[in-house]
């Protein structure tokens, strides 16, 4: 039987087990929308801005491990998701984005709502397609899901002209994607793994440096085995938070520019760095020439291009983190002697704990700590970008993978709220909080309409310091407090929430924090809490730009 392109698209998505599409309609999508009208299997969440739809698909993917799907119209609808794709691409999040396109015979003619999306998104997607013939559609969808979810995951865009959705052909969904040019390496080289095991055994000051790859490959159990059996301390990157339980004594928490002092001291003094699914980003290494001068490096990553990109690697192992760690654990015959090393680290932990001013003022760190206590560290936390993100990273205890949703690589303000609503759709039984800043929340605040309409019970906690805090912090420390364009005159967020039909709570005093958090948790629907926190609170410790990561300022006891 012949089916239209629109029907083929929907049937293919059902075959891929897609339950939800985040999106926004438009003229080029009309034939698809009309078929969706009769589709029982897939729910369409109508976001209020395409960027929100892309981030929602991203948040959904990060907490479920499944491919997130978003669908938007041609031209401006499609260009509005570019930031969402770039965010997902940087943090290796599997998304399939379907963009409407003008009719094939109009492409290139400057038609109404036309934009060259395959051209625009080339460098921010893992791969992209322009469908020119309905006969290719099913195969392309199969390939797109396969590419997005395998190897190093990432977003794949399918640009779909309107006439293709109206053409008809026979539908047969391929069982497998056949791509001769795409074969990710999953199993690590046995010889390299053997050498790595020997190098670990001989080390005296090893550190495991775990990134988002641990979470993506589901390697947390294997990572814990490697660390605990061999008594090796573990530090994680921002996107790696939850890959190793921070409540464990071997945890050094996060490293890098705003990492814990002891994580940075440990990595700088180590004689062996075991990098697992991380990529030596500049926010992690600080001044690269002075990074961990006496350390040898074992680097496990599925993406060969991440290895030896920023630092010299002694033992590269290309493969899936989980598979490589299983093999590495088997080869670990002799434990390294880390007794003295762990003692030294314990000393650093005692002399340089993570701390903040515990006076009676309403400080953002206190809010996160109390949230951690109330939720027992079990909630899903999304963040915006800036100070709110760093406080959420540092003062919440991240114990489980796929519970910390943050834009690490691209650092996208406005990400957290739509990502939180996507995460909540993906895991409806969990408590989901967006830890936001007053600057970031305004970048996608229209999604209040979405959470109100679908009764998505995310809790937005605005750490409202009336400024773009992270930039202001830099201006305070390095630009003589010349606050150019960083102080904000904000709206009344409670009224805004109420205008959308969302419950709003305002908190100005420290003593009201716990009560407000409890009320937010108790309330069945979405809630926005506007915390008026200390305006000039800074994120410490901090490594100034261009310094080695053990040259930290602030927050040093």
């Amino acid at each position: 039987m012949k089916l239209s392109g629109a029907q083929i698209l929907i049937n293919s998505l059902i075959k891929e087990n897609v339950k939800v599409i985040f999106g926004m309609p438009g003229g080029s999508l009309l034939p698809v929308l009309d078929k969706l009208y009769d589709c029982k299997e897939i729910k369409f969440i109508l976001n209020r801005h395409e960027q929100g739809a892309a981030h929602a698909a991203d948040g959904y993917a990060r907490v479920t491990g499944k491919v997130g799907v978003c669908m938007v119209t041609s031209g401006p609808g499609a260009t509005n998701i570019v930031t969402g794709l770039a965010t997902a691409n940087f943090d290796s999040v599997p998304i399939v984005a379907i963009t409407g396109q003008v009719n094939t015979n109009m492409i290139g003619n400057d038609a109404f709502q036309e934009a060259d999306l395959t051209g625009i998104t080339r460098s921010v997607t893992k791969h992209n397609y322009l469908v020119k013939d309905v006969k290719d559609l099913a195969r392309i969808i199969k390939e797109a899901f396969h590419i997005a979810s395998t190897g190093r995951p990432g977003p794949v865009l399918i640009d779909l002209p309107k006439d293709v959705t109206m053409q008809e052909c026979d539908f047969k969904y391929p069982k497998q994607a056949k791509l001769r040019s795409y074969n990710p390496t999953y199993v690590g080289h046995p010889g390299q793994i053997k050498r790595a095991a020997a190098m670990i055994s001989k080390s005296r000051r090893p550190v495991i440096y775990a990134g988002g790859g641990v979470i993506i490959s589901g390697a947390e159990k294997e990572l814990k085995e490697l660390a605990v059996k061999n008594k090796i301390p573990v530090t994680t990157t921002l996107t790696g938070l939850g890959g190793f339980p921070e409540t464990h004594p071997l945890s050094l928490k996060m490293l890098g520019m705003h990492g814990s002092v002891y994580a940075n001291y440990a990595i700088m003094d180590s004689d062996l760095i075991i990098a697992v699914g991380s990529r030596f980003d500049d926010r992690v290494t600080g001044k690269i020439d002075e990074f961990a001068p006496s350390a040898k490096v074992i680097h496990i990553d599925i993406d060969p291009s991440s290895i030896s990109k920023n630092v010299k690697v002694d033992i590269p192992i290309v493969g899936d983190c989980k598979k490589v760690l299983i093999d590495l654990n088997k080869k670990m015959n002799k434990k390294p002697d880390t007794h003295a090393w762990l003692k030294q680290i314990k000393g650093w932990k005692q002399s340089h704990p993570l701390t903040y001013n515990g006076d009676n003022k309403l400080r953002p760190q206190y809010i996160i700590e109390e949230l951690n206590k109330l939720t027992k560290g079990k909630a899903i936390i999304s963040t915006e970008v800036g100070q709110n993100q760093m406080w959420a990273a540092l003062f919440y205890q991240h114990d489980k993978p796929r519970t910390f949703v943050t834009s690490g690589g691209l650092g996208t303000m406005g990400y957290g709220f739509p990502a939180a609503l996507g995460a909540q759709i993906g895991r409806p039984k969990e408590l989901v909080f967006d830890i936001a800043g007053d600057g970031s929340i305004q970048m996608n605040i229209q999604e209040l309409a979405t959470v109100a309409e679908y009764k998505i019970p995310v809790k937005i906690l605005i750490l409202n310091n009336s400024c773009l805090g992270m930039v202001r912090q830099w201006q305070e420390l390095f630009y003589d407090k010349r606050y150019q364009s960083t102080l904000l005159k904000n709206p009344d967020f409670v009224k805004i929430a109420e205008g959308y039909g969302v419950k709003g709570i305002k908190v100005t005093k420290k003593k009201d924090v716990v009560k407000a958090l409890k009320e937010a948790i108790k309330t069945p629907g979405p809630v926005l809490v506007d915390f008026h926190v200390e305006g000039e609170e800074n994120v410490f410790p901090m490594v100034p730009a261009g310094k080695a990561i053990n040259q930290m300022i602030g927050g040093l006891a």
């Binding site: 080339r122 460098s123 893992k126 001769r180 040019s181 795409y182 291009s305 990109k309």
Partner: protein, 163 residues
């Protein structure tokens, strides 16, 4: 890592599909790699094309070029021919302005370099030449004293030597 810049000739087998050339050229610009030349054409199998890319950079850059190209879904195989030993050729077409006084001399220079005149109108000779880099360099050196107009080159093609 060596900071020395080296020139490498890379042969890249790709799917013969819409957008592949754009993917590769945008990768080079996005990652800040410099392409000295790029030549592309269908292979013995019409579903694939082969690109010969000449790129200059230090060892680390060249390693990244290789790895980043490999990440592209449409790239099937990459060979760094510089490591293997290769034969390279480039085709150039150009025009050269002559006068009655130097016509004979120019023709002799061209003949010595095995460049072929394929058209001769009034005072303009149209010439083709195919050769490797060193011959190409010598030809251009020899004709530099004459008035050379409108040069067009294919970019290098290269193929690995049989052992």
């Amino acid at each position: 890592m060596s900071d020395k810049f080296k020139t490498h000739i890379i042969s890249v087998l790709v799917e013969n599909r819409f957008g592949v050339l754009a993917h590769i050229s945008s990768l080079f610009s996005a990652r800040g790699f410099n392409i000295d030349s790029l030549a592309v054409g269908e292979t013995e199998d019409p579903s694939t094309s082969r690109m010969t890319i000449v790129v200059t950079g230090d060892d680390r850059t060249l390693e990244q070029v290789d790895k980043q190209l490999n990440r592209l879904i449409d790239v099937i195989r990459i060979d760094d021919l510089t490591k293997k030993g290769f034969v390279d050729r480039e085709l150039v077409l150009f025009k050269i302005k002559v006068s009655a006084a130097n016509l004979k001399q120019v023709k002799e220079v061209l003949k010595k370099n095995k460049a072929k005149i394929f058209d001769e109108k009034k005072t303009i000779l149209s010439v083709e030449f195919c050769g490797d880099s060193s011959h190409m360099q010598k030809l251009f050196k020899d004709i530099s004293k004459y008035k050379v107009m409108e040069v067009t080159r294919t970019g290098k093609l290269a193929i690995a030597k049989e052992k």
